[in-house]
């Protein structure tokens, strides 16, 4: 038989070998802020379980190393990831001294790069499978369900990040919903204002350069500065405009963060609307006019549907960007997952940083996958129709 190495597999196997045998699997700390002590896989898990995990890693790495069928690689990466996810929870329980509530067990460098290695393998398989948009959303839902199941089952309860969570479960969900409201709300506002503005810029050439230049310059203002600069005008509005304070408009807090995110969101929405409308074939427009459509009918019947995928791409950019930027809102009292990130940085409690960062990354990632799938669906549908 002709045995050949898979180039990516060589990289994955090398990373996995280093992570499994050299790097620490878990960190043990006597309390949440002291420096930790490293634990290898065999130290962090009961002997039999540790050996089982090592066997799984070695087999999966070997499957990655050689040229093997895609299905086998898929199974190997999923089994390895599930085993790692389950057993890191076991390590948490195993390493925590009985009855000790101060000790913190967190996944260490080795665990993270093992996850990275097998995610790489999984990503490679999924890329090569060229999944349809629906299938990609399906995979995302499955992965989310699996993580949710693990969280509910309590098998990760002894890990430090969840201990941080249990200490502030209420505020976690409050900040989380604030984060989502900020990101989605500012996106919604940007679409409501940005779409007509983009259409206007498309129709009125004189406006175009000016509006886009102003929006471009807004983008160059660093986020923390823009957040800060809005404190004053909004504070003024809250005091002087009757009813504004009742609506929740205040100098600090959610309002300036919302306005800042809205301002950042305008450029991608407006610019993509302009680009999308400019890309509508002249022939389609002429035909529409020739058939006696009014400007309004032409806009909604021809131009807008044709420009839709491009506008959607702008919305994707905005959503992913906003989910990330909303973390900064915490600096001006605007809430969101950033609260945990900056608290964690302030207390040098990395588990707390993770509690804020991991959901943010997960949200942004999910938003990107879903919107990418939607964009692909609208464009392929179009192609199928014209073919």
């Amino acid at each position: 038989m002709n045995i050949r190495f898979d180039k990516l597999g060589v990289v994955i196997a090398a990373i996995a070998a280093y992570a499994a045998f050299v790097a620490p699997f878990a960190t043990f700390r006597a309390n949440r802020i002291v420096p930790g002590q490293a634990r290898s896989i065999l130290e962090a898990l009961p002997t039999a379980t540790g050996a089982l995990l090592l066997v799984i890693i070695v087999v999966a790495a070997l499957i990655a190393l050689f040229k093997t069928p895609l299905v086998l690689r898929l199974v190997a990466s999923v089994v390895a990831l599930v085993a790692l996810a389950l057993l890191v929870g076991v390590a948490g329980t195993f390493l925590t001294p009985a009855g000790n509530t101060f000790a913190r067990i967190s996944p260490a460098f080795g665990f993270w790069i093992l996850i990275f290695a097998f995610t790489l393998l999984l990503a490679d398989v999924l890329t090569r499978l060229e999944l349809s948009p629906w299938a990609r959303v399906g995979v995302l839902v499955l992965a989310a369900a699996a993580v949710g199941l693990l969280l509910v089952s309590g098998s990760w309860n002894d890990l430090s990040i969840l201990k941080e969570y249990f200490n502030r479960a209420d505020s976690f969900w409050a900040e989380g919903s604030k984060h989502v409201t900020l990101a989605l709300g500012s996106l919604f506002a940007a679409v409501v204002i940005g779409l007509p503005l983009g259409i206007l810029c498309h129709r009125v050439e004189k406006l175009r350069a000016g509006v886009l230049n102003v929006l471009n310059i807004i983008q160059t203002i660093p986020s923390i500065a823009l957040f800060g600069l809005l404190i004053a005008p909004l504070g003024w509005v809250a005091i002087h405009v009757p009813g504004a304070a009742a609506l929740g408009i205040r100098g600090i807090g959610t309002a300036p963060a919302f306005v800042a995110l809205f301002l950042y969101s305008l450029l991608p929405v407006v610019a993509n609307t302009v680009v999308g409308l400019a890309g509508v074939p002249r022939a389609a427009n002429d035909a529409a006019r020739g058939m006696g459509m009014t400007d309004r009918q032409r806009l909604f019947g021809v131009e807008f549907p044709l420009a839709f995928p491009v506008i959607l791409t702008g919305i994707r950019i905005v959503l992913v960007q906003n989910i990330g930027l909303a973390t900064i809102a915490a600096l001006i009292g605007g809430g969101g997952f950033g609260v945990f990130v900056f608290q964690g940085v302030g207390q040098t409690a990395m588990d707390l940083v993770l509690l804020g960062a991991v959901p943010t990354v997960a949200l942004a990632f999910a938003a990107a996958i879903i919107l990418d799938a939607v964009i692909e669906m609208t464009t392929t549908k179009r192609r199928a129709e014209t073919a």
Binding site: K7, A123, P222, L229, G324, V345, V353, V361, A367
Partner: protein, 249 residues
């Protein structure tokens, strides 16, 4: 708009920026109304000029490193030997772009501690993506007959890369570097939340002491730098593109 107007505006911006950085005192009356209770008007815990230089140095270091690594990676995956990494690298870039800069910054702290290092790492990682993506676009959308002519003329793989493929992709690669620098300039300010010496320090000092003048001066210096650098790099980009007879966007 007259052709000289943008140039004049830019020149005025440069003069203003230099004047503010070297003699911030001149502008005190302008910013005075923004402060309350006789708070200091001009940032007083360090020189603005020094912070600006440090800010630019951080962005420059990170961008140079990101450019080298990203271009090298893009070259690797577009060679026959690395071709099988191409689809995966595209997916990874896509995934990578969903990581918020703050998260990258905060997650780098446990690995390297506070200060300039986590900022450099975050800027480097975040800068990689636009440059990699653009270099990839440049190298994979070369005009086929030009590459064919280069092979036909007897250029080796290296000669093709250095003499034809990279120079032809230069405008697009520069576009990636420009994006990466502008993102970097803004992200570097966040670096001050993990104690990096950048202009973010001024803004954060303003946020903490409720001093609007600080926030404004920090923010405007960064914005002015970004606008000027963006314009400068766009000009170089247009120059290289025009020489080849194609218009950059």
């Amino acid at each position: 708009m007259k052709a000289w107007l943008p140039a004049l505006l830019r020149l005025a911006l440069v003069v203003l920026l230099v004047a503010f950085l070297t003699n911030p005192g001149w502008f005190e009356p302008l910013l005075k109304p923004l402060t309350e209770n006789n708070a200091p008007v001009i940032y007083n815990q360090g020189s603005l000029l020094t912070l600006t230089v440090l800010h630019l140095r951080t962005v420059l270091l990170a961008t140079v490193a990101a450019t080298i690594v990203a271009v090298a990676l893009a070259i690797l995956v577009t060679r026959p030997a690395g071709a099988e990494f191409l689809p995966l690298s595209r997916s990874l870039v896509n995934i990578g772009q969903t990581f918020p800069p703050v998260a990258v910054l905060a997650l780098a702290v446990p690995a390297v501690g506070f200060g300039e290092k986590p900022t450099l790492i975050a800027l480097f990682l975040y800068g990689l993506l636009p440059i990699f993506e653009n270099t990839l676009t440049g190298l994979t959308t070369l005009p086929a007959n030009v590459v064919e002519a280069a092979r036909g003329a007897g250029m080796t793989g290296w000669q093709r890369l250095l003499k034809v493929e990279l120079p032809l992709s230069a405008p697009i690669i520069l576009g990636g570097i420009r994006l990466s620098v502008v993102i970097g300039l803004a992200t570097a300010t966040i670096g001050s939340t993990v104690a990096a010496k950048t202009l973010g320090e001024v803004i954060i000092a303003g946020l903490l002491s409720n001093n609007l003048a600080f926030i404004l001066q920090g923010g405007l210096i960064v914005a002015a730098l970004a606008v000027l650098i963006y314009d400068g790099l766009s000009a170089i980009e247009r120059y290289t593109a025009r020489r080849m007879g194609s218009e950059a966007e």
